[in-house]
C-alpha cells in the first residue's frame, strides 16, 4: 500500500517575487503531477511541516508546478526564505477541483482577493485553454494596495483574449495609482453578466468571501451559482484527520471550492 503521508522530494527551480508579501515557487517535481484546477497540494518544508496550497500554474503544463504563497505565518516565512536549488516536499493533489464540466457554456465571473488570485489563475488557465466553451469570462480582482497586486504583468495579456475582461481595484491607492480605489465588491455592481447563465467563483480571505457572497446574492446570483474557495486548517488532506469540516463537508475531499448552497446553512461558514 502506498504511504500517502510520504512527501515527494521536489526541487525549487526558481522563485518569483510577485509582491512584497507574495512569492511564487517554481517547482520541478521528479515526475509530472497531474491535477485539476482547484485541487491543492500539501507542501512540505523540511523539518518545519506541511501546509495546503493550490497550484497557480496551468493544469495543462505539468513540467513545472507553480505555487504562489503569501507570507502569513511560521511556515510561509520559511517559504519566503527559500532559494532556487533548495528542496521541498509535495503530496497530492487533493480535493475535488472546480466543476469544469458544469462551467461549460456558462459565463464565468471570477472574483479574487489578494493572494486568492493564485488558485484562480490555475482556473483561468484551464478556462483559457478551452476559451470557446465559455461565452464570457469576467475577472474582478482586489488587493490592499497597488504593490500587492499579483501577476500584474499578465493582466494586459488576459484582457486581449476573446470574451475575457479584467478589472482590478485597490483598497488604498497612492499618488501614482490611476486605477480604481475601493473594495472588490464595488466591481460587482454592474458586471453585465447574464445571471440566468452564469457561475461566480471566488477566492480570497474569509472576510472578503463573506462580503463578495453577500454582494453576489444582492445583485441576483443564486447560492447554487456561487463557488467559494474555503479556508480551513488541514493536516492530512485526505479526509482522515478531521479538522477541516464545514457542516458534514470536509474541505480537503469535498472542496476546498464549495458550492455556497451546500454550506450556507452552517453557522461557522465565515468563521
Amino acid at each position: 500500500m502506498d504511504n500517502l503521508y510520504q512527501p515527494i522530494e521536489t526541487q525549487v527551480l526558481d522563485i518569483i517575487t510577485e509582491t512584497p508579501t507574495i512569492k511564487t515557487l517554481v517547482l520541478k517535481p521528479p515526475h509530472p503531477i497531474p491535477f485539476r484546477s482547484g485541487q491543492f497540494m500539501q507542501l512540505t518544508l523540511f523539518g518545519i511541516g506541511e501546509a495546503p496550497f493550490t497550484p497557480s500554474s496551468s493544469p495543462h503544463e505539468l513540467d513545472t508546478m507553480e505555487i504562489t504563497i503569501l507570507k502569513a505565518g511560521h511556515l510561509t516565512e520559511v517559504v519566503h526564505d527559500l532559494k532556487p536549488g533548495d528542496r521541498v516536499g509535495l503530496r497530492g493533489p487533493f480535493g475535488k477541483g472546480y466543476p469544469m464540466k458544469k462551467f461549460e457554456g456558462k459565463e464565468i465571473l471570477v472574483v479574487g482577493g489578494g493572494v486568492g488570485l493564485a488558485p484562480l489563475r490555475a482556473l483561468l488557465y484551464a478556462l483559457f485553454h478551452d476559451l470557446n466553451k465559455y461565452p464570457k469570462i469576467s475577472i474582478k480582482y482586489g488587493a490592499r494596495n497597488p504593490s500587492e497586486l499579483s501577476f500584474r504583468q499578465q493582466y494586459e495579456e488576459w484582457q486581449k483574449l476573446k470574451n475575457v475582461d479584467f478589472e482590478c481595484t485597490v483598497d488604498r491607492g497612492h499618488a501614482q495609482w490611476e486605477g480604481k480605489v475601493g473594495l472588490v465588491t464595488e466591481l460587482l455592481e454592474n458586471t453585465g453578466i447574464d445571471l440566468t447563465n452564469a457561475y461566480a467563483v471566488s477566492c480570497g480571505p474569509e472576510i472578503m468571501l463573506k462580503f463578495v457572497t453577500l454582494k453576489l446574492l444582492s445583485v441576483g446570483f443564486k447560492p447554487e451559482q456561487i463557488y467559494l474557495s474555503m479556508n480551513r486548517k488541514m493536516s492530512c488532506g485526505m479526509g482522515l484527520c478531521g479538522r477541516c469540516n464545514i457542516g458534514p463537508y470536509y474541505l480537503c475531499k469535498d472542496g476546498p471550492d464549495m458550492n455556497y448552497a451546500k454550506i450556507q446553512v452552517y453557522p461557522d461558514v465565515f468563521g
Binding site: 500500500m1 504511504n3 510520504q6 493536516s235 482522515l240 484527520c241
Partner: protein, 351 residues
C-alpha cells in the same frame, strides 16, 4: 457455537502466544487494563475474564497515540510496519467502534495505511460483558453488551466453561490450530448464555432508565445548530481533551515534522477537537473560536454529520467520556437536554 473448558482455552492462548504478541486484559489494582505483553511473558496466571470494558479504548492498538508515518528525504521504507497481534477479551463497544472508524480510515477514497494493515492482520477474540458500569450505555446507543459480528472468535463465560463462537474464516483456522474446540455447545448452555445476555440488557436499561429519547439525536442537534444552548451545556468543560482521547471512535490527528538524526521524521499524533489550536490557521483565524462552538462540533460530528455521511452514529455508548470527564459532563444527559430544549423551543414557537 462450541463448548470449551477454561483449561483448554487458556492453553490455546498459551500456544497462540508462541506465535503472536497478545493483548490481553490484566488486573491492575481494582481496574482492568488492556495491557500489551511481549511474546515471552504472558502466563496463565495473568488471565482474568473482564466483566466490563477496560478504561483504555482499544483504538490505540489500531492507531497509536503517536506514530512515525514518514521519514524524509529518502525512501518510504523506513516507516515501522505494524506486526499482527491477537487481542483477547475486547468488548462489543470497542469492536463496534472499529467498524465506525473503518468508514473514515479504511473505506474512503484514501485510507490510513497503518490502520488498514492493523485491521487486516490483528486477530480479535472478543468476550461478552457480564456486568455494566454506572456509565455504560451501549443499549441506549443501539448497541448490545455482546457481539454478533466483527470478531474472529468470541467467548461467553458460563459458570466455569466458555462458549466459543467462530465469527470469521480466520477464526475458524485459529480454532483448528490453537483451541481445537469441536464439541458443539449443548442447548442448555446456549440457553443460559442467551438468558445471561438478556438479563444484562435489562440491567443496562435500568441503569439508563432516566434517559429516554423520542427522536433521533441528529434531529435534536439539527435544531440546535444556531442555538446558544451549547454554552450552558459546556459550562463545566475544562478543555482537557480526555473525552476525545478515551473515546473508542474519536480519530482526529495532527501531523508534525521534526529533525531525526540527519533526516526528518513525520509524526502522526492524536488530536482533540476541544483544543483551541485544533483548527487555528496562519493569520490567527479560528473557525470555532469559542469552547461552546467546539463542544457543539463534537456532538454535531458524532451524532449528525457522521449519520449524514456514513449512516451511523459515531458512538457506541461505552460511557468512557462521561466517566472520565472532570466537569461531570454526561453524554447521555447532554443528548437528553438537547432533546428537551428542542421540545421547549417548539412549544415556544407554537405559542
Amino acid at each position: 457455537m462450541y463448548q470449551i473448558s477454561k483449561k483448554d482455552f487458556l492453553s490455546g492462548i498459551q500456544k497462540l502466544n508462541n506465535d503472536y504478541p497478545i493483548i490481553i486484559p490484566t488486573q491492575s489494582k481494582e481496574k482492568y487494563y488492556l495491557k500489551y505483553f511481549p511474546t515471552e511473558s504472558w502466563e496463565k496466571s495473568h488471565w482474568l475474564y473482564p466483566s466490563i470494558r477496560t478504561p483504555q479504548p482499544l483504538k490505540s492498538f489500531y492507531y497509536p497515540p503517536q506514530k512515525r508515518v514518514a521519514t524524509y528525504p529518502g525512501s518510504n521504507n523506513t516507516v515501522d510496519q505494524p506486526v499482527p497481534r491477537v487481542i483477547i477479551g475486547a468488548k462489543a463497544c470497542d469492536v463496534n467502534a472499529l467498524d465506525i472508524i473503518d468508514r473514515v480510515y479504511r473505506n474512503g477514497e484514501f485510507s490510513d495505511p497503518d490502520y488498514v494493515i492493523n485491521r487486516d492482520q490483528n486477530i480479535i477474540i472478543s468476550s461478552d460483558c457480564l456486568d455494566a458500569g454506572e456509565f455504560c450505555a451501549c443499549t441506549l446507543l443501539n448497541n448490545k453488551p455482546y457481539l454478533e459480528q466483527g470478531f474472529d472468535l468470541n467467548i461467553s463465560k458460563i459458570e466455569n466453561d466458555f462458549l466459543l463462537e467462530v465469527g470469521s474464516d480466520k477464526g475458524e483456522l485459529l480454532n483448528q490450530k490453537y483451541f481445537h474446540a469441536e464439541k458443539k455447545a449443548p442447548n442448555n448452555l446456549v440457553e443460559i448464555c442467551n438468558k445471561q445476555r438478556q438479563s444484562l440488557i435489562e440491567k443496562l436499561s435500568k441503569i439508563n432508565r432516566e434517559f429516554k429519547y423520542y427522536r433521533t439525536h441528529q434531529q435534536a442537534i439539527e435544531r440546535h445548530l444556531h442555538s446558544d444552548e451549547w454554552q450552558d451545556l459546556s459550562k463545566t468543560c475544562v478543555e482537557c481533551g480526555t473525552c476525545t482521547q478515551i473515546c473508542p471512535t474519536c480519530h482526529c490527528f495532527l501531523m508534525f515534522d521534526q529533525p531525526k538524526d540527519d533526516v526528518y521524521e513525520r509524526l502522526k499524533v492524536w488530536d482533540s477537537c476541544f483544543f483551541a489550536g485544533y483548527s487555528r490557521m496562519a493569520g490567527g483565524l479560528t473557525p470555532r473560536l469559542s469552547l461552546a462552538d467546539r463542544f457543539k462540533n463534537r456532538f454535531y460530528h458524532k451524532f449528525d454529520s457522521y449519520v449524514t455521511n456514513f449512516g451511523i452514529e459515531a458512538c457506541t455508548g461505552c460511557g468512557r467520556c462521561s466517566e472520565g470527564c472532570m466537569g461531570n459532563i454526561d453524554l447521555r444527559k447532554v443528548l437528553l437536554e438537547l432533546e428537551k430544549r428542542v421540545v421547549l423551543k417548539e412549544i415556544i414557537d407554537l405559542v
